[in-house]
């Protein structure tokens, strides 16, 4: 059991929570995530560790389905059934040079710890932060703090530049030398970014959001086509080379349980009515 010690709404449907787990906080390295089982009859879901302090891990999540909605409903002082971790490879501690960090939607929650880490390793960082609309924009200040330049794009033009993160990326790539692109967000966005950088041979790391169960490399739920074979995202990732990922195997797998997710959600809505 892991106590929820703090929660804060950071944007509509998006929560930042602190959970007591000193052993995970101590072992944590940027890039790691945890597997959370909200309650005894729950589902194991992966969530990135956003930050840590002595006692707690901090997590930022968006309410999208039953598990995340249940977490969103929990009150401070209540107990989360299980949290396993940290797991996943840590992000490399390396000076790449000029790095473009692209975050879309709730991916910003993963971009913050990676950005801090990249910064600490001496990299020059340009951040492209995208959201559908201004009110869904996350961690502008945090990402501003770790970057030389912050470019904001919104689909509807309500803030920053109207358009997609990929438009901003194209512009940077045509004017500047870029040593590494790191992208975190919806799979379609990461695919689009990889498609842009591939012909230019700019190394691109993507943070894959495969569906997971075990998070320890024993179930194969998170597998994705990679190079000539298949890798398990939970132990070989979550950061992988975007040019090697076979996106045609990832995208359909993400919607494998669409029908079941809808059932869970509608039952939950009925319960709370």
């Amino acid at each position: 059991m892991y106590e929820l010690v703090d929660k804060e709404l950071v944007a509509p449907d998006i929560w930042k929570i602190k959970v007591r787990a000193p052993h995970i906080a101590k072992a944590y390295k940027p890039g790691n995530f945890v597997i959370v089982l909200p309650h005894e009859r729950g589902e194991r879901i992966p969530l990135t560790v956003f930050d840590t302090d002595e006692e707690n891990i901090h997590i930022v999540f968006q309410e999208v389905g039953k598990s995340t909605k249940l977490l969103g409903k929990m009150k401070v002082g209540e107990q989360i059934q299980d949290i396993m971790g940290p797991t996943g490879h840590a992000f490399p501690s390396q000076k790449f040079g000029n790095v473009v960090l692209i975050a879309g939607g709730v991916g910003a929650a993963t971009a913050v710890p990676l950005g801090k880490h990249l910064r600490a390793c001496g990299n020059n960082i340009t951040v492209i932060l995208g959201a559908r609309s201004k009110n869904l924009l996350l961690f502008e200040k945090e990402l501003q703090d770790i970057s030389e330049k912050l470019i904001i794009t919104t689909d509807d033009g309500s803030y920053g530049v109207k358009g997609f993160v990929t438009d901003a990326l194209r512009e940077i790539l045509s004017n500047e030398v870029v040593d590494l692109v790191v992208t975190i967000g919806p799979a379609v966005m990461m695919k689009a970014v990889s498609d842009i950088t591939r012909p230019l041979k700019v190394k691109t790391l993507v943070s894959l959001n495969s569906i997971m169960v075990c998070g320890t490399g024993m179930c194969g739920a998170c597998r994705v086509g990679y190079k000539d074979g298949t890798v398990l995202t939970c132990i070989e990732g979550p950061e992988l080379d975007g040019h090697m990922v076979d996106w045609n195997t990832l995208l359909p797998r993400l919607s494998m349980y669409k029908e079941e997710e809808a059932i869970s959600l509608s039952l939950l809505d009925n319960e709370s009515r």
């Binding site: 052993h23 995970i24 072992a27 790691n32 089982l37 009859r41 729950g42 589902e43 194991r44 039953k66 598990s67 059934q81 299980d82 949290i83 396993m84 971790g85 940290p86 797991t87 169960v213 075990c214 320890t216 490399g217 024993m218 179930c219 194969g220 739920a221 597998r223 994705v224 086509g225 074979g229 298949t230 398990l232 132990i235 076979d246 045609n248 195997t249 995208l251 359909p252 797998r253 494998m256 349980y257 079941e260 997710e261 059932i263 869970s264 039952l267």
Partner: protein
């Protein structure tokens, strides 16, 4: 006097049992156990004992059943095997103890496993008589909570050690919890055995990945000795085109969802599982049979494809028999060469018929594809159960640990790895094997761990 037949095991009717997850084999009544035990000749030279990987005194425990001394019989087994309720159910008896019974030659060996199970079921819920040494407060750690670690932990706790078990998943038990289905090994039994361990003072820490949450080096600072029983849990893939299509599962994922996460009770439990209508299972070990029978219970028409013939199927004989009674089809010898799909979902398995060539070094005949025999089996779900390998997590964080080229941990005859004080046993050492072999390894390692600590 003509040799009497084995007393058949009472079982749930196949038509009924494919609609539920309750145990299939119901267990002997006292009367049936006494009748079966009475067939045992109490041989002066009981060959059965060598057939058991942990050399249970089978003659003695069956003798005790004959005298109606069930409690004594139970503790006779427990001298060598801590978990008879499990092994009585899942051991491949037909190639172990029962194969070595003198009556096997006549095709009617004593049903040793069923008798073992009978005693365990009869006694395990009663207060246990366990002799324990005084607590010595010396901390030792066991990594993983499968049978190897459970057995090591039980014996170390009895010797007075302060035993800590570390498990990556949220529930202990290893394959006993996440792999072997409820209808073969009820989780009530696994949980009860684990509770008895807690009664011995063993501390269980779940959600802890050794190599991630704590490193082995950290454990070595805190614990006098460490036992690694991390199993061989990483799934092997077929490495054929289309294997990542939706609807294609590794058996591990399928079984973890259904057993550990209770997806068969979705949406009462949150984890979903796809319920196929036409399911193809690839492989023919216990894992394949468990996956096939589980899919059947979720309502599917199931076909098993395997590249060798029936004689080579590595599963327990009883599982194949049960699977067939449950209406599972077998296509042998047949091998998948590709998966075909539409809109990201699997639609068929392309297979090739095989013929069996000359025997290899292990005596198994090598399957050779028959050219041009390819055809498609239409399906909406595939479960791949072609084996597992050691999980690499511990390796990534412990490069100094000596491994075989296959990733198994190398140990000496005392179960010690190349790192002093770090021992290992079970599937992580042998590759996928059996519950009783893992239990036996844990038990023997406990002896050497005790010697190591006392000698040091």
């Amino acid at each position: 006097m003509p040799l009497k037949d084995r007393i058949p095991m009472p079982e749930q009717d196949p038509k009924l049992r494919i609609t539920n997850f309750d145990e299939v084999a119901l267990g002997y009544t006292e009367e049936q156990a006494l009748m079966e035990a009475s067939r045992c000749l109490q041989c002066p030279n009981p060959t059965c004992i060598q057939g058991c990987p942990v050399n249970i005194d089978i003659k003695a425990f069956i003798g005790l059943i004959q005298e109606g001394k069930f409690k004594e019989g139970y503790y006779k087994i427990k001298e060598k095997n801590n978990f008879p309720a499990m092994t009585g159910r899942v051991c491949p008896q037909e190639i172990q103890c029962e194969a070595s019974c003198v009556l096997a030659k006549m095709g009617k060996p004593i049903a040793i496993g069923r008798l073992e199970r009978f005693l365990a079921d009869h006694e395990m819920y009663k207060p246990q008589q366990i002799e324990t040494e005084k607590k010595n407060h010396i901390p030792v750690a066991c990594v993983g909570t499968g049978p190897a670690s459970l057995a090591a932990a039980a014996d170390l706790a009895k010797k007075g050690y302060e035993v800590h078990l570390f498990e990556a998943l949220h529930l202990p038990g290893g394959v006993l919890s996440y792999g072997i289905p409820e209808f073969r090994l009820p989780k009530k039994i696994v949980n009860h055995e684990i509770m008895l361990l807690s009664d011995l003072g063993v501390l269980i820490h779940t959600d802890v990945i050794i190599g991630k949450t704590y490193t082995l080096q950290q454990l070595r600072r805190e614990f006098k000795s460490i036992f690694l029983g991390t199993g061989a849990g990483a799934p092997l893939l077929l490495r054929v085109p289309g294997e990542n299509l939706n609807g294609i599962f590794t058996a591990n994922e399928f079984l973890i969802r259904v057993n550990l996460m209770k997806a068969y009770r979705f949406p009462e439990f949150d984890t979903p599982i796809k319920k196929g209508k036409e399911v193809v299972v690839v492989g023919a070990g216990n894992v394949a049979m468990d996956a096939a029978r589980t899919a059947r219970r979720l309502g599917a028409n199931v076909t098993v494809v395997y590249r060798r013939s029936r004689a080579e199927m590595p599963s327990r004989a009883e599982e194949v028999q049960h699977a067939e009674e449950e209406g599972i089809h077998m296509k042998l010898p047949t091998n998948p060469v590709a998966f075909h799909g539409k809109d990201g979902w699997v639609q068929s398995v392309e297979v090739v018929s095989m013929q069996l060539g000359s025997p290899d070094e292990r005596g198994r005949r090598k399957p050779i594809p028959i050219e041009g025999s390819n055809y498609e089996i239409y399906c909406d779900q595939v479960i791949v159960a072609i084996g597992t390998t050691p999980n690499p997590i511990l390796k990534y964080s412990t490069p100094e640990l000596l491994l075989t080229p296959h990733g198994n941990i190398v140990v000496d005859e005392q179960y010690q790895t190349n790192i002093p004080g770090v021992f290992a046993g079970g599937d992580i050492v042998t590759g996928s094997a059996t519950v009783i072999e893992a239990l036996g390894a844990g038990k023997k390692a406990a002896i050497y761990i005790d010697k190591f600590i006392k000698g040091a």
